[in-house]
């Protein structure tokens, strides 16, 4: 099982529950994928974004229940066929022994350069991470404070990359997605103009800092624009597909923002509003008066003395208009995570036509929401089980 996002975790647990031993390899330091760093987007009531669902999938992951979890493990190559796959894994040095770290935090208390830290407060595994670049040892100093301080001998200062070859009967790829690199659309100013962020930034900011993030981001300001379809439904950008989740996400984020920051006005710029996700139709029925809808995507974002100037074609009135905003949020689409270990992919980059015995689950096969990703995990587990039954 490659990838421990909502789809991979679900598939691993579903297979383990049928008595199939599962090796779950995650390239990151913790499970949960992107969804583990999303914020709750409830306004007055839950808006069914699915973040709790993904949190539950991570939480119910029990140690030693048939799933062997390997974090910091990247797949280099997959060879062989059903019943005889050889998967080459590369282990990224974490600097901490996951099986011994209890998360006590003594190392972080004493580290003079804050190079060792817990991943995040709901991380699984909760084992700490050593940032080898920030570590004093990277500058040639012989600092061993953290190793000496650890009551459990869990700090591995000389951790090095390693490789491992594992055998598998079936391979499930749940490698997820990458957000569209918004900086590629230079005219929108991402990475160049302060005040231009992406929905992913906003999600993570809210998740890390809570509503204070909003007031820090927007001190005293009150006009925020959401630009939809950044890297979606855009042949010029090489992304012809609808990413499906960004419209509901923008709407939910706007809903939470106007609720948390009184006086804030949000304008959504879109082509077609995809508002069929669960719970979204209702949000639409009583759209707060602070959320405005404009059909038309701004071509560029300019920095003006009064704020960020958006120029757009308002389709409803067929007029060219300009408006000033304090914050521009780009609703970025879902991109493929890149070719996974040499597996075939469609022109868009999403996995398809996989060889026998290899199953794709979740967003690596195309854009999905969190609940859909969990469903995809179940589906892939079934597909994997079918391959296993055909082997025996």
């Amino acid at each position: 099982m490659v990838g421990a996002g909502p789809a991979g975790l679900t598939a691993a647990q579903a297979l383990a529950a049928r008595g199939i031993p599962v090796l779950l390899a995650e390239q990151g330091p913790v499970v949960g994928g992107w969804a583990a760093c999303y914020a709750c987007k409830a306004a007055t009531d839950c808006n069914l974004c699915g973040v709790c669902l993904s949190a539950r999938v991570s939480r119910t992951m029990q140690p030693g229940a048939g799933v062997t979890l390997k974090v910091d493990a990247h797949v280099l190559g997959i060879e062989g066929g059903p019943g005889s796959f050889a998967v080459r894994l590369a282990h990224r040095p974490r600097g901490v022994d996951v099986s011994r770290c209890t998360g006590c935090g003594r190392c972080a208390e004493l580290c003079p350069v804050a190079a060792i830290a817990q991943p995040h407060p709901q991380a699984l595994p909760m084992a700490y991470l050593l940032d080898q670049e920030a570590c004093l040892r990277a500058r040639g100093e012989e600092c061993v404070i953290c190793r000496e301080a650890c009551p459990f001998g869990a700090v591995l200062l000389d951790d090095t990359p390693s490789e491992e070859l594992v055998q598998a009967d079936v391979v499930v790829l749940a490698t997820g997605f990458e957000p569209y690199p918004a900086a590629r659309k230079g005219q929108l100013g991402y990475g160049r103009l302060p005040g231009v962020i992406t929905t992913m930034d906003l999600e993570r900011g809210l998740w890390q800092h809570g509503p204070e993030y909003l007031s820090r981001l927007l001190p005293g300001s009150r006009r925020v624009a959401f630009v939809h379809c950044v890297g979606s439904r855009d042949l010029a950008a090489g992304r012809g597909w609808c990413s499906q989740v960004c419209c509901p996400t923008a709407l939910r984020l706007a809903g939470r923002m106007v609720r948390e920051l009184p006086g804030l006005e949000a304008t959504l710029f879109f082509i077609d509003l995809q508002r069929c996700a669960p719970g979204i139709a209702r949000l639409f029925d009583d759209l707060p008066p602070e959320i405005h809808l404009v059909r038309g995507i701004p071509g560029d974002v300019l920095s003006e003395p009064g704020g960020l100037l958006l120029t757009f074609e308002d389709v409803a009135t067929a007029t060219r208009r300009q408006e000033l905003f304090d914050l521009v949020v780009l609703a970025v689409g879902m991109d493929s995570p890149g070719a996974a270990a040499g597996m075939p992919a469609a022109a868009e980059g999403f996995l398809c036509d996989l060889p026998a015995g290899v199953v794709a689950a979740g967003a690596c096969g195309g854009p999905v929401s969190i609940p859909e990703a969990v469903g995809e995990g179940l589906r892939a587990a079934g597909a994997a089980l079918r391959v296993l039954e055909s082997l025996s």
């Binding site: 539950r56 006590c104 993570r204 890390q208 809570g210 597909w241 995809q274 719970g279 859909e372 179940l378």
Partner: protein, 614 residues
């Protein structure tokens, strides 16, 4: 045979808790037969040491004060098993995230720790042995309702996985029982059929879509209402076929083009490229007049003025799929009940499952999904059904039980259960179906005879734990009691701990499986014992896995506040709050701490992301 008394083990997490708590005082807590300090419960050596000590003490119950990480939970289970202490006679106190890490003053933290340990001990003493496991023997048969692509995909996948799909032609009339052993009654043209099945996968029927159009005619499709992907799919397929293969002139009138489904944007693009004309309607600008068997469609298009088209056939899109399967959902017991208690959207948050274990909704029975989505859901549902319906024997532990001696047969439990887990029949007693019960405790809170108890926290145990928590060494102020829902508030509290964000030691936490488990008297009792505030922290209405938790809690608080007023206590001291498990900031706000600890919190999280994307 085990002896008597309760043993206490305190883990210091490698000694790191010692400075924040007076561990000596905690191990000397009164009422324990013996006590042990260890430093590494969650590592194999530590748990082995606790196991051998516990065997020597010959205690019959165990309280472990450590942390809440999965490894510690696992260790307690293993230790008690190794030493022969029954699992219900053990209790794990989250001393680290729930006390040591979140309180700055060691004396207050120690006082709270003593109360937590005493509370756990009181709970263990009041625990009841669990009802023996029940065996469910599914036959491997799964009922598949519907004729759409999703149901066919589900049936095919079930067959691959060694189950038998029972496809029916007829109407499902009755559906009862529990996951693994449902009984379904189906009315067909020939009469009535009964099937014993382990699960049901209900899909909608295949859409019959292609309108009656002759080659060369002029056709307009009218897409009003929400831009459902299923409607887009059927409309665009028909429009493309008519324009490309039948020489029709095709016009599609729409507001928003719903392309949120795999391949829909591509289909839209192809239709545009094949001669289908798409015109966007804005609010109030469309006029349709019937004249001599033809339709005259007039539209105001911004910037273009008025456009008029005459067509032979006008196809109005959008059928209400959810409405269409409402009757089916009601028979399956997953639709809103009388009084509208069950918000249907909650079920839509799950990929295929519903609030009733073993009942899966897919395709148009679930929402306006495309063929591709329905097929994927069908395959997912087949796998999910396998876990309850695969042939074999499943041992299910009962999470709630009925004392038939006390039961008044008032049917309250049957009516309030959000999971269809309570049943009765003529001549039978009330029964909680173990494979259907999800342990929320809503029934236990509502039972007028006190006849239903949930195994995990019978009422006597809950009250004993609360009383012990409220009485103990001084905390430096009047306590605030927080009832914490296991699905939302407990993980959020744990996150506050991991971030070492401090809140007052007067905050005393009582975990509950769901806020629906609480009665008014649970809220009043702490107030009468001197609490300053009582908070019920749980999920939002629509995110509550047990559907009715927050709504029940609001009613309970209303009643409790009135009672408090009558008793001369502060009627404004009891509150409900909703939050998500990932929203520890909101919990922090409620408890009065600022969670925006800028650098530490943010710095670490961004490192993870950097690491993940490296």
């Amino acid at each position: 045979m085990n002896g008597y008394g309760t043993a206490l083990a305190v883990c210091t997490c490698g000694g790191t808790l010692c400075g924040r708590l007076d561990v000596e005082r905690i191990v000397a807590a009164p009422g324990f037969a013996s006590a042990l300090v260890i430093h590494d419960l969650c590592l194999p050596a530590g748990s082995a040491r606790v196991a051998s000590w516990l065997r020597e003490t010959a205690a019959d119950s165990l309280v472990v004060a450590a942390c809440g990480v999965p490894a510690a939970v696992q260790a307690v289970v293993e230790v008690s098993r190794a030493a022969g202490v029954a699992e219900h006679r053990t209790s794990l106190v989250d001393l680290r995230e729930g006390c040591a890490w979140v309180h700055t003053q060691a004396d207050q933290a120690t006082a709270k720790a003593l109360r937590m340990v005493a509370s756990a001990a009181a709970g263990v003493r009041e625990s009841t042995p669990p009802v023996p496991d029940v065996e469910v023997r599914p036959s491997g048969r799964v009922l598949v309702v519907g004729t759409g692509p999703g149901s066919l995909a589900a049936a095919a996948r079930l067959k691959d996985l060694g189950c038998e799909a029972v496809l029916i032609s007829g109407t499902l009339e009755r559906f009862e029982g529990q996951a693994g052993e449902f009984k379904a009654r189906i009315r067909t043209d020939q009469g009535v059929e009964c099937h014993a099945v382990g699960a049901v996968i209900a899909a909608g029927d295949a859409p019959a879509r292609m309108p009656a159009v002759q080659a060369g005619q002029r056709v307009a499709f009218l897409l009003e209402g929400d831009p459902w992907p299923s409607v887009t799919e059927s409309t665009l397929s028909a429009a493309l076929h008519l324009a490309r293969d039948c020489g029709c002139r095709v016009l599609v009138l729409f507001r928003d083009m719903g392309v949120a489904g795999r391949g829909l944007e591509e289909l839209y693009r192809e239709a545009r490229g094949s001669g289908v004309t798409f015109v966007r309607m804005e609010e109030g600008s469309l006029r349709i007049v019937e004249a001599g068997g033809e339709w005259v469609v007039t539209l105001e298009v911004p910037g273009l003025g008025s456009v008029t088209e005459t067509v032979d056939v006008l196809v109005s899109g959008a059928t209400d799929a959810l409405q269409g399967t409402r009757g089916l959902a009601e028979v399956l017991g997953v639709a809103p009940r009388k009084g509208g208690w069950a918000p249907r959207e909650r079920a839509l948050l799950e990929p295929v499952a519903t609030e009733r274990n073993g009942v899966f909704l897919i395709g148009s029975a679930r929402g306006p999904y495309t063929t591709d989505q329905a097929v994927r859901q069908g395959e997912a549902a087949a796998m999910a059904a396998l876990s309850v319906a695969a042939p074999g024997v499943i041992a299910v532990s009962a999470r709630a039980s009925v004392d038939v001696e006390r039961c008044a047969f008032c049917l309250t439990c049957l009516r309030v259960c959000p999971h269809q887990a309570v049943t009765t029949a003529l001549g039978q007693t009330m029964r909680v179906l173990p494979a259907a019960c999800q342990g929320c405790g809503v029934c236990a809170a509502a039972c007028p005879a006190g006849a239903i108890q949930i195994t995990e926290s019978p009422n006597r145990r809950l009250l004993a734990e609360m009383d012990a928590l409220m009485n103990g060494p001084p905390l430096g102020g009047r306590p605030t009691v927080v009832f914490a829902c296991a699905n939302s508030a407990v993980p959020a509290l744990q996150a506050l701990g991991r971030l070492r964000l401090s809140y007052p030691a007067q905050v005393l936490v009582v975990p509950v499986p769901c806020l629906g488990r609480l009665e008014a008297v649970h809220c009043v009792r702490p107030l009468a014992a001197g609490a300053r505030r009582v908070l019920l922290c749980g999920c939002y209405d629509r995110s509550c896995e047990h559907l009715v938790g927050p709504a029940t809690a609001r009613r309970v608080v209303e009643r409790a506040s009135a009672l408090a007023g009558t008793l001369g206590l502060d009627p404004g001291a009891i509150h409900v709050a909703s939050l998500a498990p990932v929203d520890w900031h909101k919990l922090g706000q409620i408890l009065g701490v600022s969670c925006d600890d800028g650098d530490r919190n943010g710095g670490e999280a961004s490192k993870v992301t950097a690491h993940a994307t490296a």
